[in-house]
C-alpha cells in the first residue's frame, strides 16, 4: 500500500448533504482509512474559510494528496484543485467524492445514505493514494472560427467574432444567408420592418474582410478538439458563377420549370433557376438541380443560352473543402412543427389555414401578395380571421411538451398587422395563457386588445373544417364556459418551433448532445448557457431552445465573446490524463493502435508510443490491452481495482 499522506475533507453543504448523510460519521470512517492522516468536516467547504482550512491542513500536515467529499466534480473540482496548487501540491493529486448529487440528494434513509457516502469517499481515497503529479500539456491554438448557420444568430456571431479581428468561416446550407428572420414582415414589439434591420447586417457579412462566406454548403465531418478542429465542408454546385451573374433575371424568364417558392413557403412559385429574394447574399442566381430538367443542353439549356455573360456552367462540380478552426458556433435554427401532425387543425389539408410564417409572407411588402392581406384560395380580403396559439406546443400527450415562447407575442403582432391592413376586419385569438415577459411585450399585447380590438378567447380549438367557402372553427371560451363556433375566412396557426431538420445530424457530426426535445444541449442550464458539452463548441439561437430575436442576438454575442476569449489565449492546456505505455509489458500487438479513436498511438521499434497532444484519455486502449501495458494516467487499472474494492468493503 502507498506510503502517501492523504487528507479528507467532508462538506455538509449546509443541510444539502448533512440532512441525509451523517457527515461526522463519514469523517470518522475516513480517519480510520489506511493512509489517511487528516480528516475534517466543515459546513461549507467551498466558502472562503473552508478553502483556507484545506490549504492550511495540507501545509500543516504535509499532505501528499487530498479528497474532498462534496458536490459533483463538475462544480468544485477546479476550486479544490486550485486550493491544492496554492498549498504547494500538484493539482492532479486532488480527487472529488461526489456525495451530494450521487448520494445525499437521491436517498432518504440516513443510514443507507451514510453507508454509501463512506463507500464513495473511501473509493476516492484509494484513487487519490495512487494519483501522480501531472502537468498540463500545452497545445497551439488555431485562430479561426467556424459558424454553422446563416440566420440572425449565425450572422451576429460571425460579425462579432470577425470584428474582434478573428477570421470566421460562415457556412449556410441554403443559397443565401438571412434565415427565417428575413421571411418576417415586421418584428414585435416595435413593428420594425424585419428585412430593413437584417439586410444591412447581411451586406456587412458579405463585405467583411475577415469573413469567408460559404453558402449552399454543409459541414460534413469534424475531427480534432478545442483549439484545433479539422472541418470538412461540402460546397454544393449552384451552376452559376456569382462573380459573373448580373442578376438580370433573363435566365429565370426562360426557365420552363415552375416549383413552389420556399422563401414564400409555397404561397408563390419560382423557376428552377432562381434567386431566393432580391436582397440575397451572395447576390447571384442558383440553379436548383433537383428541379432542373437535366443540366443538359440537349434536354433544355434555355437558361445557358439566355445568359449574356456566360455565368451558367452545367459542369460545376461539388467541392469538399478542408478548414482548420479553433472554435465552432452552432446556429442551425428552427423549423415550424409540421401542420401535417395536427389532425384536429386540418392536418395541413384545409385551404386558407396558414402557419405563422406563411402569414408573415402575406403581410410582407415583398411577399406573395405584395403586402395585401388576401386569402390564398380566392384572393379576397379575409374579413374574419382566427389566430390559434399553442398549436403543437404545451401538449405533452400528443405533440411537444414545451412552450414555444414566442407565439403569444407573434400572434399579437399578427392580429395587429391584420387589423392595420384590414381595419374593418375582425381578429380572434384562441389562447391558453398569454406569456408576454419582455421589455415592452405586455404593453404590446394590451394594445392588440385595446387599440386594435382583437378578441381574445381563452380556450383551445377542438376542430376546424371547410364549410361554405369558409373555415369553421369549433372552440371553447373557458372564461364564459361557452362553446364558440366561428366561420372564418382564414385561420393562422401559431405552430410550435422545433429544431431545424438536420440538427440531429449536425449534433452527431460535432459530438454534442441534444435535450429530450431535440434541441442542442447547453453545458449547464444556468451557468453555461452558450457552451455545448464539448469544449470549443458553442451554441446560439433557436437550435438551443425557442427564443425571440433580441435573445438570439444576445446569445450569439455571448457565444462570440466565448470564442474570442478562447482564441485569444496563446496556447491551450490539454488535460494530462492521457495514456502511458509500460514498455516492459508491451508486446507490440497493435490492439491499442486499432482501438484508439484518435489515431494517437503508433508503433516505434515494436513498442506502442502515445502522441500526448492527440490522446484524449478515453481509455479504449487500456480496456483492449491484454497485458495491461497501456493505461490512462490517474485512472490506472490498479486504481480502479482498489476503488472497486472500496465500494464493496
Amino acid at each position: 500500500m502507498t506510503k502517501k499522506r492523504t487528507g479528507v475533507f467532508v462538506c455538509h453543504c449546509g443541510n444539502n448533504i448533512a440532512a441525509t448523510v451523517d457527515v461526522t460519521k463519514v469523517k470518522d470512517a475516513m480517519a480510520n482509512e489506511e493512509g489517511v492522516v487528516f480528516s475534517q468536516d466543515y459546513v461549507y467547504m467551498c466558502s472562503d474559510p473552508g478553502q483556507n482550512s484545506v490549504i492550511d491542513a495540507i501545509k500543516d500536515n504535509n499532505l501528499d494528496n487530498v479528497v474532498i467529499s462534496c458536490c459533483s466534480p463538475n462544480l468544485h473540482e477546479k476550486t479544490f484543485r486550485d486550493n491544492a496548487k496554492m498549498a504547494g501540491l500538484n493539482s492532479f493529486t486532488c480527487e472529488i467524492a461526489n456525495i451530494r448529487e450521487q448520494c445525499a440528494w437521491v436517498h432518504k434513509d440516513k443510514d443507507e445514505a451514510t453507508a454509501k457516502a463512506i463507500k464513495i469517499s473511501r473509493s476516492a481515497v484509494r484513487r487519490a493514494g495512487r494519483d501522480q503529479a501531472l502537468e498540463p500539456i500545452a497545445v497551439p491554438v488555431t485562430r479561426k472560427a467556424l459558424v454553422i448557420g446563416g440566420g440572425i444568430a449565425g450572422i451576429q456571431a460571425a460579425l462579432d467574432i470577425a470584428n474582434a479581428g478573428v477570421e470566421v468561416i460562415l457556412v449556410e446550407k441554403l443559397a443565401t444567408i438571412g434565415g427565417h428572420m428575413l421571411q418576417l414582415s415586421e418584428t414585435f414589439p416595435t413593428l420594425d420592418c424585419s428585412q430593413c434591420i437584417l439586410s444591412p447586417k447581411m451586406v456587412e457579412v458579405s463585405r467583411h474582410p475577415k469573413i469567408k462566406l460559404m453558402t449552399y454548403s454543409e459541414v460534413q465531418e469534424v475531427s480534432g478538439s478545442v483549439g484545433n478542429f479539422k472541418v470538412k465542408i461540402l460546397k454544393k454546385p449552384t451552376y452559376v458563377d456569382p462573380e459573373l451573374c448580373k442578376i438580370c433575371d433573363d435566365c429565370a424568364s426562360v426557365c420552363p420549370v415552375v416549383v413552389p417558392n420556399e422563401h414564400d413557403l409555397g404561397l408563390t412559385a419560382r423557376r428552377a433557376i432562381h434567386i431566393p429574394f432580391a436582397q440575397a447574399i451572395p447576390a447571384s442566381y442558383t440553379l436548383d438541380e433537383s428541379a432542373c430538367l437535366g443540366l443538359n443542353p440537349v434536354r433544355c439549356g434555355k437558361c445557358k443560352d439566355a445568359c449574356d455573360v456566360g455565368a451558367i456552367n452545367y459542369d460545376m462540380q461539388p467541392q469538399t473543402i478542408t478548414e482548420e478552426v479553433g472554435a465552432i458556433v452552432v446556429a442551425t435554427g428552427f423549423d415550424l412543427y409540421a401542420q401535417e401532425h395536427m389532425n384536429e387543425m386540418g392536418g395541413g389539408k384545409v385551404e386558407d389555414v396558414l402557419d405563422g410564417l406563411q402569414f408573415e409572407r402575406l403581410c410582407s411588402a415583398s411577399g406573395a401578395t405584395k403586402g395585401h392581406v388576401l386569402r390564398p384560395s380566392d384572393r379576397t380580403v379575409p374579413k374574419e380571421v382566427v389566430f390559434i396559439q399553442c398549436v403543437g406546443s404545451r401538449d405533452p400527450a400528443q405533440h411537444c411538451a414545451y412552450c414555444s415562447k414566442i407565439c403569444c407575442m407573434y400572434t399579437a403582432k399578427h392580429a395587429r398587422l391584420y387589423k392595420h391592413h384590414v381595419p374593418d376586419g375582425r381578429a380572434y385569438v384562441f389562447y391558453i395563457d398569454i406569456r408576454s415577459g419582455g421589455k415592452g411585450y405586455e404593453e404590446f399585447v394590451q394594445r392588440a386588445m385595446e387599440d386594435d380590438g382583437t378578441i381574445y378567447l381563452r380556450g383551445r380549438v377542438s376542430k376546424l373544417y371547410r364549410k361554405n367557402g369558409k373555415v369553421r372553427v369549433l372552440g371553447t371560451d373557458t372564461l364564459t364556459g361557452q362553446n364558440v363556433e366561428i366561420d372564418a375566412d382564414m385561420v393562422v396557426l401559431a405552430l410550435a418551433m422545433e429544431p431545424s431538420k438536420g440538427t440531429g445530424e449536425i449534433a452527431k457530426t460535432l459530438k454534442i448532445g441534444r435535450d429530450k426535445d431535440g434541441f442542442l444541449a447547453e453545458s449547464h442550464p444556468k451557468l453555461k448557457p452558450v457552451e455545448s458539452v464539448t469544449a470549443g463548441i458553442f451554441l446560439a439561437g433557436c437550435a438551443q431552445a425557442p427564443k425571440d430575436i433580441p435573445e438570439t442576438v444576445a446569445q450569439a454575442g455571448a457565444a462570440a465573446s466565448k470564442v474570442i476569449g478562447l482564441l485569444s489565449q496563446p496556447t491551450l492546456s490539454h488535460a494530462p490524463t492521457v495514456a502511458r505505455v509500460r514498455n516492459s509489458h508491451c508486446s507490440g500487438c497493435e490492439m491499442c493502435v486499432t482501438a484508439c479513436p484518435y489515431n494517437a498511438i503508433h508503433l516505434e521499434h515494436g513498442k506502442a508510443v502515445v502522441n500526448e497532444v492527440l490522446c484524449e484519455g478515453c481509455g479504449s486502449c487500456s480496456a483492449t490491452c491484454l497485458r495491461a501495458a497501456i493505461e490512462v494516467k490517474n485512472a490506472t487499472a490498479l486504481q480502479i481495482h482498489e476503488m472497486i474494492e472500496a465500494c464493496l468493503a
Partner: protein, 153 residues
C-alpha cells in the same frame, strides 16, 4: 475490516436481501445524467456505488470480473447513447464486450443477468434513476452472488 459492521444498513439488518452493485459511469453522459437525477431529487435505492470512468469503452472485462470477485451482486456499466460517445466510438467498444462478458459469466456459473449495460445521456436523470431501480429489483430474486466471491476471511 473494522468499519464494515457499522455500515450494515437497516434494510440488511431487517433481513431482506439488498444487492450490492458497482456502477461504472462514463464521465460525460451517465455520470452527468446521475448528477441531473440528483439535482432533480429523483429518489432511487442506494445499492449502487458509482465509479466514474472516462468512457464506458475504458471498462475492461477485468474490472467487471474484479467486482464480482470482490463480492458484487451486480455490475452496471453505463455510457453515452450509441453514436453520441464523447470519444467518438468508445461505447461501440463497450457494446462489443457485453456479449463476451455475459458469455463468460455464464461459463463460470454466474447468472449473466448480474451484469447490465445501459445508455444514459446527460439529460436523462429520470432514466438513470429507473435503471438503478430496475436493476435492484431484478437482482433481488437472484440472491447473493457467492460463486466468484473470494474468501477473504
Amino acid at each position: 475490516m473494522s468499519h464494515s459492521q457499522a455500515e450494515v444498513t437497516q434494510a440488511e439488518a431487517s433481513g431482506e436481501f439488498e444487492p450490492r452493485i458497482v456502477a461504472f459511469l462514463c464521465k460525460w453522459c451517465s455520470s452527468a445524467g446521475s448528477d441531473l437525477a440528483g439535482v432533480s431529487r429523483m429518489q432511487y435505492p442506494s445499492n449502487a456505488t458509482p465509479i466514474t470512468v472516462p468512457c464506458s469503452g475504458s471498462v475492461s472485462p477485468m474490472y467487471i470480473l474484479s467486482a464480482f470477485k470482490k463480492g458484487a451482486d451486480g455490475v452496471l456499466v453505463s455510457g453515452c447513447h450509441i453514436g453520441d460517445c464523447h470519444y467518438i466510438e468508445g461505447n461501440f467498444l463497450a457494446r462489443r464486450k457485453i456479449h463476451l462478458v455475459k458469455e463468460l459469466l455464464g461459463f463460470v456459473g454466474i447468472e449473466p443477468d448480474r451484469f447490465r449495460m445501459s445508455w444514459v445521456s446527460a439529460a436523462e436523470g429520470a432514466k438513470y434513476s429507473n435503471v438503478i431501480k430496475d436493476f435492484v429489483e431484478d437482482l433481488k430474486p437472484l440472491g447473493p452472488q457467492n460463486k466468484m466471491k473470494a474468501d477473504r476471511s
